[in-house]
């Protein structure tokens, strides 16, 4: 069988790619997509360690992370739409004030 370490390496790769994209992009939507990518890498780690440990805790945590990611996407996209309504731009460099 494939060793569990290989799954962990894939998840580390996904997390690193997501972090790279997070620093690379200036568009808020792309930054959000990269955050989802990083969440996925972490989730894969949880499930792989659940397989190693031989219990279901990692899978339960993965389900909870998916729910939290859904909540985060809902609030984040709402904030993003409100920002776009104010300024007509989604460039993070243009949203550098802590007030409207």
């Amino acid at each position: 069988m494939v060793p569990v370490q290989h799954y962990l390496i894939v998840s580390a790769l996904l997390f690193a790619i997501g972090a790279t994209g997070l620093f690379f992009h200036r568009n808020l939507v792309s930054i959000f997509l990269c955050i989802e990518l990083m969440l996925n890498g972490v989730n894969l780690t949880f499930v792989a360690y659940s397989r190693l440990a031989g219990n279901l805790e990692g899978q339960a945590i993965a389900i909870i992370v998916i729910v939290v990611a859904a909540a985060e996407a809902a609030v984040g996209l709402a904030i993003l739409m409100a920002l776009h309504r104010r300024r007509e731009t989604l460039n993070v460099d243009d949203h550098d004030l802590l007030r409207y």
Partner: protein, 177 residues
């Protein structure tokens, strides 16, 4: 139903082939997400990446998590992303000008260092490798994971229920006219 049909992936002879296929698909799609200038293409590539990761979950025996990943994540959350991209008009004829930041290419060494650190941590963990065949008691079916969530993990489970209710009400309030 989906969790049951995902078990066909676990043919032992095909296991490494399926693993390398799924991980290659998800890593390539992740690279497209991280580098694409148009958010619409990035969202579509992220859907492909999520499907690849779902295949990896199924291979690890977490069939319920794989089904949830496909139904909730790729099926609902990413569609909301695409709807927002469509509403804001970021994916159409006028390409969104997402020039990389002035020091944008500095992200590349940061990512490489991060992967080196994480890979070292992974390589240094030498846990007990489970036996060749996964015993049936460990398989994360919907019934088993559901029972676990509603007994041992009841408090976090109910907390996420409250969290998603609050966040959806808040999101509705934020986008009001």
């Amino acid at each position: 139903m989906l969790a049951l049909s995902l078990r066909f992936i676990e043919v032992p002879a095909l296991e490494s082939a399926v693993f390398y296929f799924c991980s290659a698909v998800s890593v390539v799609a992740a690279l497209v997400v991280a580098s694409s200038r148009r958010p619409a293409y990035g969202a579509l590539a992220l859907i492909v990446c999520l499907l690849g990761v779902a295949g990896l979950y199924a291979q690890l025996g977490a069939t319920f998590v794989a089904a949830v990943q496909i139904i909730v994540y790729a099926g609902a959350v990413l569609i909301v992303f695409l709807l927002v991209i469509m509403l804001l008009g970021l994916g159409g004829d006028t390409p969104f000008k997402d020039r990389p930041r002035r020091l944008g290419w500095a992200a590349l060494p940061v990512g490489l260092v991060l992967f080196a650190v994480l890979g070292t941590v992974v390589a240094r963990t030498s846990p007990t490798v489970p036996d060749e065949t996964m015993d049936e008691a460990m398989r994360g079916t919907a019934a088993r994971v559901g029972e676990f969530l509603l007994t041992d993990y009841l408090a976090p489970f109910e907390a996420t229920a409250i969290l998603i209710l609050v966040s959806l009400v808040g999101a509705t309030w934020l986008v009001r006219r």
